[in-house]
Amino acid sequence: MSLTNLILLTGRTINQGVALEGGKVTKENVRAAGICTFDKDDFKKLDCIAGTPVKVTTDFGEVMVYSTITEEGPHPGIIFIPMGPWSNQVVNPDTQGCGTPTYKGMKAKVETVKDGRVLDAIELIGKLKEVQK
């Protein structure tokens, strides 16, 4: 199933903060930051169980993350990925001349990929290095 016309927000979560201090190369970091939270009703439309990998696509890229229902809702039409390597694959790098990229408020679409694989931080960032070769 898929959803379109969503707005993607990013930001700090306490789990992501704990995980990055505990080790950015750990599985804990993937579970904390490689995750997309949905409004309860939006998630129903996806017709999958929490934890199913989803592909999030914006005008700036795409990334595979786990899905779950938000604790900070309701926020219909809005999805949230914690700040970190996963969200940064799909954020808007345009700084509008002020130096700070537009990390929040991108238009996004989401589709479930039942056998999708969520990469860990090193693999994910490694793909940016591979492109060079």
């Binding site: 927000l9 903060g17 950015k24 700036f60 130096g99 929040k104």
Partner: protein, 440 residues
Amino acid sequence: MTQKKITTHYDVLCPFCGTLCDDLEVDIADNEIIEMRNSCQIGTKKFFSSNPSGHRYLKPQIKEKGTFRDATWDEALDKAADILIKAKRPLLYGFSSTECEAQGVGAELAEYLRAILDNTASVCHGPSLLAIQDVGAPLSTLGEYKNRADLVIFWGSNPVHAHPRHLSRYSDYVRGYFRKDGRNDRYIVVVDPRNTHTAQIADLYIKVNPNEDYELLNAIRAVLRGVELDAKEVSGVPMEDIKKLVDILKKCHFGVIFFGMGLTQTISHHRNIDSAICLVRELNDHTKFLLTPMRGHYNVAGANQVFTWNTGYAYSIDFSREYARYNPGEFSSVDLLMNDEVDATLIVASDPASNFPAGAVRNMFKHPIIAIEPHHTPTSVYADVILPPAFAGIECEGTAYRMDKVPLRLRKVKDAPVDCLPDKEILERLLEKVKAKEGK
């Protein structure tokens, strides 16, 4: 079984977020942290991460044929100096998670190398600095808010997650001199597109549409001046709610707006902050009102201070013409990297590979990277030289500036591993090396 001798350190500062809590208690045995009290989850984890682990660098590393090998400090600094001297447009980035003395040496190194000097404010509260330069800012220290504020607004910030002890130390639950009943003496308002955990414990939650904070701020300013707006709602907020909010703003004795990334990282960036500052200025016609940015890294405010008194500018500084020039949007790290201008990067206490947009990281990876970094991170793993530091605030002393620009002295509670040096010493030795190679 012999009992380990436990030493307890009191009033230790936490080197994680801008709240810079200064009441931590740390138990140490055999130079390892065994227990923490008073710290939040993230702070606790940071202290424990300084203990020996599989993902801490204990010796300098040089990458050869794609794999790291242990190196001596001399070798590693030699390689790092070569990279920086050879580069035409090197970038020195990070600095916000280290102490002020190291930041000062970083500024000196950047000037010597004719490099670009930038700190993490560039991707965080840079727009706040731009707005403050445009229209000034009515700021205060956190103690004033704690003792006096009876209206606290969190706009685009979620302290329950990002500054976990801010609410209990300064802004919500704490008892203040004129706010003796703590939480009951304060009215909390949260403006955010999501019903965040902070919003869930607030007295009033205003749900604003993403990217439309600017419109809402200006609607509030208009209503405050008595203008009747011809609209049923602005930015998704019904007009009655805006009028109710304005009434609350005018009636308080002492109000404060704490604002975060929800204003700086959305469309209109620094114009959002401009408008918030103007709103606070206009509110002072009715009552006492102030605002303060919720700074992220524990010493990002210090990085801005140190760079300003060394170069005249807080971030995005270019030394290529041998004098400091400042132009966010041109000399800011993400813009430089997106334009593929940088040909070598020195990262100090930061992880841009995780925190920059993918396109910027891709271009950064095209060229050599030197990382002063204690742990395995997506940046350090793909770096060419790694210089392992001691943790500032845990394994060495230094100065840090809290989010309200109050300088505090970081404490040392344990020794660093033998081959890990303080950031300041690493940068000083690197600067000496660069000078020696250029025959000066």
